[in-house]
């Protein structure tokens, strides 16, 4: 149904971002919390508008904007993620010398980029959404301006991201040249139609996939991730771990879903993606073993997680992928939130040695962090177990048993480094004095909600699975 209502959620977010920028420029207040409240209000408004559009199938701009249920589900996911990031960032930016009101505005713009990406099937729109997301992300990574690592992170992300975008545009140009179409249905028709120019088309598609592989950090296109994750302000890192990844995979399943029942597993790109998935899981987890900086370790862990998500794509399990992304959002933001909880003014504790004995000194934070780590490692009854379980079962049903064996092996490797943090927290004598800023209610709220999410989805995932089923129906 063609309706202007399809644009309104996006307009709310962009409008709020502009207002945040203008307020920041005019009021110049030292306390930026009012901008956070304003942003949260916009997120809630956007959420209500999106909820009203559920099952509505609204479209606008000649179908270039398509609010189907899959787009809406991912929009909810992003809204929750950005709201969490704003909440864990409120205190953080003033404590860690990144006190710019633009933090909130840029996050909202990044969110609008994500929403644009997931709510279109036209590659020009998807590309522009990706660029809005990326450009906002580059500056978000560098917000701690006096910190060399943060600046390095911004520059690296910018250079590597531009490089990836160049691949993407080149691939799109070749695709357009051969298929004379850039919308996903048109491309699917082209590839299903016949052998004319197929080779060139596959080259173009391959380049597009490489571009996306960069953005979602799949080995061997992952080199930027550890440095960017380490240098960026921690709330921003939490955002990076879920936002770009979820949107990239959303585009990937939109592109590949039409093939799931039509010879996907014998297609030209299947072997390529299979190898990428195996490599990503093994390399990500093996390199993570050697990391002593927690943020770098999480960076490699998130790379490995991209590998698990790729299995869901290969298995043609859209519902499993969305469920996986939902759970990963709670786990990842929870874990990074715990890292933020263990910080004080001008000092963050990111080295493994800092965590010695923390579990007894700060029992609550230690316990919550441990739950997130166990969930990331995939122990029942946490949601992390269920996420992997569903995806692996779906993959085995599709005859991907060798890949699942690799995945299980990789998961077992990952248990070591997740548990190592817990061992440090509870079984080592403290090496150095760790003191943290305790007064941060917004952060504790997020930690609690993430904990709730991880346990609720691990034990009673029924409601969310029901929504996901409706969302996936839009894709096929």
């Amino acid at each position: 149904m063609n309706s202007f209502g399809a644009v309104v959620p996006l307009l709310v977010v962009v409008g709020a971002a502009l207002i945040v920028f203008l307020l920041e420029a005019f009021l110049k207040k030292e306390n930026k919390n009012y901008l956070a409240y304003l942003s949260l209000l916009a997120l809630i408004g956007c959420g209500i508008l999106s909820a009203n559009a559920w099952n509505g199938g609204l479209t606008y701009f000649d179908g270039m904007l398509r609010l189907d249920n899959a787009a809406l589900f991912l929009t909810f996911l992003f809204l929750i993620a950005v709201a969490f990031v704003i909440l864990i960032g409120m205190k953080y930016i003033s404590l860690q010398d990144a006190n710019h009101g633009e933090f909130y505005g840029l996050l909202l713009l990044a969110l609008s980029g994500l929403m644009i990406m997931v709510s279109s099937t036209h590659f020009i729109v998807i590309f522009l959404g990706l660029e809005v997301l990326s450009v906002s992300s580059y500056s978000l990574a560098g917000l701690k301006r006096k910190d060399d690592k943060s600046s390095e992170s911004a520059v690296k992300y910018f250079l590597m991201g531009s490089f990836a975008s160049a691949f993407l545009v080149f691939g799109l140009a070749i695709l357009f040249g051969t298929a004379q179409a850039l919308d996903i249905p048109g491309l699917v028709d082209f590839f299903k139609a016949g052998p004319d120019n197929q080779v060139l088309g596959v080259v173009g598609l391959g380049l597009v996939l490489v571009g996306f592989a960069f953005k979602i950090a799949i080995v061997p296109f992952h080199m930027w991730a550890p440095d960017v994750y380490e240098g960026a302000p921690t709330p921003v890192t939490a955002f990076f771990s879920i936002g770009p990844k979820a949107a990239g995979f959303a585009v990937l399943i939109r592109l590949l879903a039409p093939y799931w029942n039509a010879g996907f597993r014998s297609g030209k790109l299947f072997g390529f993606l299979w190898a990428l998935a195996a490599l990503t899981m093994l390399a990500g987890n093996l390199i993570a073993l050697r990391q002593n900086n927690i943020k770098r370790m999480f960076a490699y862990s998130s790379i490995a997680y991209a590998g698990y998500m790729l299995i869901a794509v290969l298995a043609g399990d859209g519902a499993g992928l969305l469920f996986f992304l939902t759970i990963y959002m709670f786990m990842s933001i929870g874990a990074f939130g715990s890292l933020i909880a263990l910080s004080r003014k001008g000092r963050e504790y990111n080295e493994l040695g800092d965590f010695a004995g923390v579990g007894f000194k700060y029992p609550w934070i230690g316990a919550i962090f441990a739950v997130f780590l166990l969930s990331l490692a995939g122990f029942p009854p946490t949601a992390g177990f269920l996420a992997k379980f569903y995806v692996f079962v779906a993959a085995v049903n599709q005859g991907l048993t060798p890949l699942v064996l690799i995945a299980v092996l990789a998961s077992l490797i990952s248990v070591y480094y997740y548990l190592r943090i817990i061992v440090y927290m509870y079984m080592r004598e403290p090496e150095r004095e760790v003191s943290i800023e305790m007064e941060n209610p917004a952060l504790y709220l997020v930690l609690f909600l993430c904990l709730y999410g991880v346990l609720q989805l691990g034990l009673f995932p029924g409601n969310v699975l029901y929504l996901i089923k409706q969302a996936v129906a839009a894709l096929l």
Binding site: V14, L18, F21, L22, E24, A25, F26
Partner: protein
């Protein structure tokens, strides 16, 4: 044909303006004057000195608004056909950029501190 005249006129004008300095300017020179001035010592380098980073913001802002200008060209050509909608479209576009412009202005992006 008019195109040729345009190129001829502006090309000639360019040549005239370029050569004006050589024609009208005073030419008092000697070998020492042609050398770069370096207090007391022979000059060592002919490279360009690094530039203050402040310029990057100027370059960047110019780049962004330059891209906006490109869109005005097809817009102006289509305006007669579309009228109202075209105006609304460009106003919406301009409003977003105006917000950015005001933001940059208030932040002092155009001040030379």
């Amino acid at each position: 044909m008019e195109l040729v005249f345009v190129f001829l006129i502006f090309g000639l004008l360019g040549v005239v303006l370029l050569s004006m300095n050589a024609l009208l300017g005073p030419k008092k020179t000697n070998p020492d004057k042609e050398k770069p001035f370096e207090c007391g010592s022979p000059y060592l380098q002919n490279e360009i000195k690094p530039f203050p980073i402040k310029f990057s913001l100027v370059a960047f802002v110019f780049l962004l608004f330059d891209i906006e200008v490109v869109f005005f060209f097809p817009w102006a050509l289509i305006f007669k056909e579309m009228r109202g909608p075209a105006l609304v479209i460009m106003l919406a576009y301009g409003a977003v950029l105006a917000a950015g412009f005001i933001y940059a202005w208030k932040k002092g992006a155009f001040e030379w501190d």
